[in-house]
């Protein structure tokens, strides 16, 4: 019998009300909520953020609109109408940017929030609490969704106003459902990115890389038909592609078709499942990887 | 280079920090003034080790930062090696090496050698010379074997050695050491002190510390600083001599007796208390420690909830000098 065995046999475990009632859980919603509230509270300390994050994408969107105007003429071009089926490329793109804000956030925010904790030295204390990691991830994601929604709506409103376009609100309910499903799918994607940041430390490079690649294959400024055929297949692997396309159609035409909606919802449902499984698995793997090397707190 | 009588001359240096708390971006709501330095004047002759001793927040670091040209004084000035820190700040910087006891003041992503070479170049050394100098100093710090490892892979003590060696890179006549041994393991702290005493005997060193034995061991002269003022300034021996007529009485008790009552007792020159976890340590000075011990122990005995655990009458230390002068203990 080893010493450890002797000790564990002879010494009764220290107990307390907390310990006795403590049961490990797969998912701790309270922790997720608390974590999200903490993030939001910190974000509220910088109220300018919301405005800035609403206005900043305008500065990235505008160059595309201006370039397309300079090359194809104001608002419309025959070539664009031919491949996309829509006559106004500004109207086409702005709604695309609106949805893509969530994609961008899913890449940046969860990872950055980890990075921030890593920098301020709070990541390790966070990870020694008996809270499932996934709760922390979901908490971070929830608070980001709130922030992203505010800035995405600011973007949509200001851009529509500045470029003088408007969208149909008749199909707003299915738009919201699809948006929520997409956000859910993106959470899984965000977990994957968070895992990568644990491993690679410096997120700016990685997230920029992933972000730019996703932006390139996503039908934000241009329809999928503008992409080379191989890139179109890649685009369908991105959880947001279906959502962008269908939401755009709903917002521009305002016509709701049940068959199209259901097939989009089914497609999104599959991506949710896929990305959550892959996301959680890769985050778990990354966590083990960093623990083995003892480099979690470092940067 | 100008020849001066003193390596460091500080003239009536003051620093007031004003912090404004803002509720909105434009409306200041609350102004807070902190007088970190209240007219410090000091001369340090060439080749002397000079200690600044005081508790945390006494103004030591602010003084060092002012001298290092990192913080601009509110009024007054200082000269390093004859160069005014305000008018000739570049020359003043060239004349000194600064070591802040912070292992983060080197690049963790660079190796020890790369760090040293990089800084050497900022001190105008060509590459080969920088390399030679880096190796020489790393050798002296017994770091040559680890010279090519990234600083992040080294131990805390080793990183501090690099920080320390970095301050010596251009062999400056004046060195500012701000808490150089803080947080170091005792062996390395001892090594460092030995190095300062033996190898840097030709340098003028301004050392801030809140370890009294360190000041006692290293310094030719010591200034006791509290709340931005120099309370006393002399050799460690003379400082202690000034309180030699007093004894210091150390009593450890369970419970927390009222210190004000003790201060009012006959023959008590000064008294301070620090308490932790239900225990308290009382330090009191008096002309006759044994006589006071008798009365004080009786007094404590009568207090409910207070139990004396240990008492001792000691020869005066620098801490006692400090207590005598300021009513505070240094290591508080």
């Amino acid at each position: 019998m080893t010493i450890a065995d002797t000790i564990s046999e002879e010494t009764p475990r220290a107990g307390s009300l907390y310990l006795d009632s403590f049961k490990p859980r797969l998912m701790d919603w309270t922790a997720a909520r608390v974590f999200a509230a903490k993030n939001l509270r910190i974000a509220m300390r910088y109220p300018a953020n919301f405005i800035i994050w609403g206005v900043m994408p305008l500065l990235w969107l505008a160059p595309y609109m201006l370039m397309m105007t300079a090359l194809g003429g104001p608002g419309t071009s025959t070539s664009f109408t031919e491949i996309s089926g829509f006559d106004n490329f500004v109207k086409f793109a702005i709604i695309g940017w609106f949805v893509f804000q969530y994609v961008e956030a899913s890449i940046w925010s969860v990872g950055n929030s980890f990075r921030h904790e890593q920098f301020s030295g709070t990541l390790e204390p966070l990870f020694v609490t008996p809270v499932p990691r996934i709760s922390i991830l979901i908490g971070a994601a929830l608070s980001d969704t709130v922030q992203t929604s505010i800035s995405a709506i600011v973007l949509l409103t200001t851009a529509s106003f500045l470029f003088g376009v408007s969208y149909a609100l008749t199909a707003i309910a299915p738009i919201i459902v699809l948006l929520l499903m997409m956000i859910l799918a993106l959470y899984g994607f965000g977990f994957m990115v968070a895992g990568m940041i644990l491993v690679f430390k410096d997120p700016s490079v990685l997230t920029q890389f992933v972000g730019t690649a996703l932006f390139t294959v996503s039908p934000v400024n241009y329809p999928l038909q503008a992409l080379p055929i191989q890139a179109r297949y890649v685009a369908y692997l991105v959880p947001s592609t279906i959502a962008i396309i269908i939401i755009r159609e709903l917002a521009i035409t305002g016509v709701f078709e049940i068959g199209q909606f259901l097939s989009a919802a089914a497609g999104l449902g599959t991506t949710i499942l896929f990305f959550w499984l892959v996301g959680i698995a890769s985050f778990r793997y990354a966590e083990r990887w960093t623990k083995n090397r003892g480099s979690m707190g470092g940067f | 280079m100008t020849l001066t009588v003193n390596a460091v001359e500080i003239e009536n240096l003051t620093k007031t920090f004003i912090s404004i708390r803002r509720r909105a971006i434009v409306i200041p709501v609350e102004k807070k003034r902190v007088e970190a330095l209240k007219g410090i004047s000091l001369d340090i002759p060439h080749g002397k080790v000079f200690g600044l001793l005081g508790p945390n927040g006494a103004g030591k670091t602010t003084l060092v930062k002012c001298l290092a040209t990192l913080v601009l004084p509110t009024s007054g000035t200082a000269r390093i090696n004859g160069y005014d820190i305000l008018q000739e700040s570049t020359h003043a910087r060239a004349s000194m090496g600064v070591c802040q006891g912070n292992e983060r003041s080197i690049y963790w992503k660079l190796s020890a050698r790369e760090n040293m070479i990089f800084f050497a170049k900022l001190y105008r050394m060509p590459h080969n010379e920088a390399k030679e100098r880096a190796d020489e100093l790393l050798g002296r710090m017994e770091l040559l074997e680890k010279a090519d490892e990234k600083a992040e892979k080294l131990s805390h003590g080793m990183r501090m050695k690099i920080v320390f060696a970095r301050a010596l890179i251009h062999d400056p006549p004046v060195l500012l050491f701000d808490e150089p041994t803080q947080g170091l393991d005792p062996t390395f702290a001892t090594d460092l002190r030995k190095y300062i005493r033996e190898k840097l005997s030709d340098k003028t060193i301004l050392l801030t510390t809140h370890y009294m034995h360190e000041a006692d061991l290293l310094c030719d002269k010591i200034a006791l600083i509290n709340e931005g003022e120099i309370k006393s300034f002399d050799t460690p021996k003379a400082l202690k001599k000034a309180v030699r007529d007093y004894d210091s009485l150390h009593i450890r008790v369970e419970g927390k007796p009222d210190i004000e009552t003790i201060k009012k007792m006959d023959s008590v020159m000064s008294a301070a208390i620090s308490s932790k976890d239900g225990h308290a340590e009382i330090v009191a000075t008096s002309h006759d420690g044994y006589e006071l011990a008798h009365r004080l122990l009786n007094h404590l005995h009568e207090l409910p909830g207070v139990r004396v655990e240990h008492f001792e009458v000691k020869e005066p230390t620098l801490d006692d000098v400090f207590l005598q002068l300021t009513g505070r203990r240094i290591e508080d």
Partner: protein, 291 residues
């Protein structure tokens, strides 16, 4: 004091001057490379970044034009070769980004890890630190420009006028002063503001928006056109592209270069004054190490 020791200090003393500052600038640039390359992914990013930024623009352009010639662009700037126009124009993006972001962010990093104070105790001029960082960003961004141009020529069939290469490089050199003026100003922002990077993001994106990289400024709102004229980036990109597309025969090249020279003086003077004032202000507040 031994002779040997004495000489190190004495030698340093005698080396004061421009060469010493230059050595410091160089050391800072190299150090920055080493720190950057210790993050393995940054190497990868550094190579693919120029293409990645350019590709979505290329696809968007292709979607609206539908061919290799844009009549609309021809009317605006005199060339229908839209691909060369945006490929050469946006090649400058990487350099401008790297200049705008690099210095501020490296200050931020040094400030938060604690090396900034140490750097500030060395006898180099305070502004040397900013110049050193600029040197690094110029090398970094310059390589990006070259990579994108090479890719544009090899993969997208862009042609470059060989006679224009040297003058285009001269334009880049000429623009450095004015851009550095902006960098000084951005560094002040980082030293002063808690979330300085947001302001950098805003200012640099705004400057990019009014710069004629992927479109001529004629398509901008008239008010923005005025802003654009006052931005050194505008003239830099115009003359850089002018030389690379047409060689010495580039239209409007003299105007662009004169404008750039004037803006050089204005921007660098304002930038240096701002930096000086800020640096003193920060030291007065004793906030060099706070963040």
């Amino acid at each position: 004091m031994s002779d040997d020791k004495d000489s190190i200090f004495q030698k340093m003393w005698k080396r004061e001057g421009f060469m010493a500052e230059l050595r410091a600038i160089n050391a800072i640039a190299i150090k920055q490379w080493k720190v950057e390359f210790s993050y393995p992914l940054s190497v990868l990013w550094f190579i693919v970044m120029p293409f990645l930024w350019f590709i979505p623009m290329l696809i968007a352009g292709q979607a609206v034009v539908g061919g290799s010639e844009s009549a609309v662009l021809g009317e605006l700037v005199g060339t229908t070769d839209w691909l060369s126009y945006i490929a050469i124009g946006t090649a400058f993006t990487g350099l401008a980004m790297s200049m705008f972001w690099g210095t501020g962010m490296s200050f931020r990093r040094e400030q938060s890890v604690g090396t900034l104070e140490t750097l500030m105790t060395t006898p180099m001029k305070r502004s040397t630190l900013v110049w050193g960082s600029m040197m690094h960003n110029l090398q970094h961004g310059g390589l990006g420009v070259i990579l994108q141009l090479v890719a544009a020529v090899l993969f997208f069939g862009v042609t470059i006028n060989a006679w224009g290469i040297l003058p285009a490089l001269a334009v880049v050199a000429l623009s450095i002063l004015a851009l550095q003026g902006i960098v000084f100003a951005l560094t002040c922002v980082v030293l002063l503001a808690k979330q300085g990077w947001m302001i950098i993001e805003f200012i640099s994106s705004a400057l990019m928006l009014v710069a004629p990289m992927a479109y001529p400024i004629a398509v901008l709102h008239p008010m923005l056109q005025y802003v654009s004229v006052a931005s050194p980036l505008t003239w830099t990109v115009e003359s850089f592209r002018g030389f690379l597309m047409y060689g010495f025969a580039a239209p409007g090249i003299v105007t662009a270069i004169v404008a750039l020279l004037i803006l050089d003086v204005v921007y660098i003077v304002v930038g240096i004054l701002m930096f000086r004032y800020t640096e003193r202000y920060v030291r007065r507040k004793g906030a060099l190490s706070q963040f």
